[in-house]
Symmetry: C2
Subunit: 246 residues, 2 copies
């Protein structure tokens, strides 16, 4: 029997350099809310999502491409941008066939780290597109890194729970000798019965609830409601929705 | 009512610089096996334990003080040292009134980081001295950092489980807004019924079981079997057993 590929979970961008990303599929996870918003926009027909770290770059690229620019800090739309970072804003009527330029902090940092460190493929994941992520990983049979974006480099619960959900689904297809993965899977298995109540205990929930973003977060925890596969095109530096015929 | 002190859990030495250690009590945790061995040696009457990072320093200090030198790499005693890193080696007959110079990698790294970053008090903890650690934290009422040593900077399960055990005991005395702590406590609460079976799933267990060290690890997971408080004396650069009359 062929050797199974490996799977590791990275709990913070700061721990990324402890892992070998060469030839890996890296799943960027930023549940509240970047990778949930990316899934939502692409599911509703956005042509592509361009993730950028800096607000200036977001504005500049937005003008150049006549695209929708979006980003928040502390629950408010950033000055100079058109929209927020709420997955619920990106309905089909609004986003279909358009380009979204999205500035985020934690998620974009992790994506750029994955690029620098030689990731072979980069996809993004959150509960709204759980099944597509798992199906892709099982199909490709390459080594996998589940990359939790965390919050300002700290461990966060919601990204780890999503890593656990992926592991719970794909575990039979991979060799997993990694305490982070064991922890994530264990946590998800115990909490999945009532994920939304448990998630409300997390620091990020408290932070975003201050801005009235509870509905956003409930969406971000809903499985398969925007079930696409956001795939990063390294040449075009954007995410598009990959289908099995790509 | 007075404001409660804060408690944070640091999951890896690499994440230490994300936290403010000024004025904190830092609990160094290295369950397999450094902080379990420290508890065991002090419980059985060792006068002091001098933790050092380098083997050369261990040999030199050992000669100077006519002390017992100890350290392992890959389950074997390091050449030039007298003893291993097994807590079961340090019986009262052997260690009473003696000085132990112990070289470890992960635990010593975390201890030195805590010193550099301005920790006010440093103590060490593992399951064999769980109660003493918790009693001290509840008595002192200062901000606390539970510092998991991990393995080569990676997250590990056993240190996190011990952090969870401490949190489960002291939680009413502290303000805890920290996903790492929430995760650790949750993990411990779920697994405490059968900690030893769960611990056998971890990477470190597999690593050490190859060298026949299962009994060592079972001891390291046994609550309150060496219930002392190893307290770091910054001037003398050693750990001694602190009692309530100190």
């Amino acid at each position: 029997m062929d050797k199974k590929p490996t799977l590791f979970t990275v709990l913070s961008p700061k721990l990324t350099d402890l892992y070998n990303l060469d030839g890996c599929i890296v799943v960027i996870i930023d549940v509240f809310r970047a990778t949930s918003t990316i899934a939502s926009a692409l599911y509703n027909g956005a042509e592509r999502v361009i993730p950028v770290a800096q607000v200036d770059a977001c504005i500049e690229i937005g003008k150049e491409l006549n695209a929708i620019t979006a980003g928040e800090r502390d629950g408010k739309i950033i000055e100079g941008l058109l929209h927020g970072n709420s997955p619920l804003e990106y309905s089909r009527e609004f986003i279909e066939n358009k380009t979204l330029v999205l500035t985020t902090t934690n998620g974009t940092q992790m994506l750029h780290l994955a690029l620098e460190r030689g990731a072979d493929e980069i996809i993004t994941g959150s509960f709204p597109n759980l099944n597509s992520v798992c199906a892709h990983l099982k199909l490709r049979r390459k080594n996998v890194i589940l990359a939790c974006s965390g919050w300002k480099n700290r461990f966060n619960m919601e990204d780890t729970l999503f890593a656990g959900a992926v592991i719970d689904n794909v575990k039979d297809f991979f060799e997993i000798h990694c305490d982070s993965s064991l922890m994530a899977q264990n946590l998800f298995k115990v909490q999945k019965k009532d994920l939304k109540t448990f998630a409300a205990l997390t620091t990020h929930w408290h932070r975003l609830a201050k801005y009235g973003l509870e509905n956003d977060m409930l969406y971000c925890l809903s499985e398969n409601v925007a079930d696409v596969l956001p795939f990063y095109d390294k040449t075009k530096q954007c995410l598009y929705s990959k289908t099995s015929i790509d």
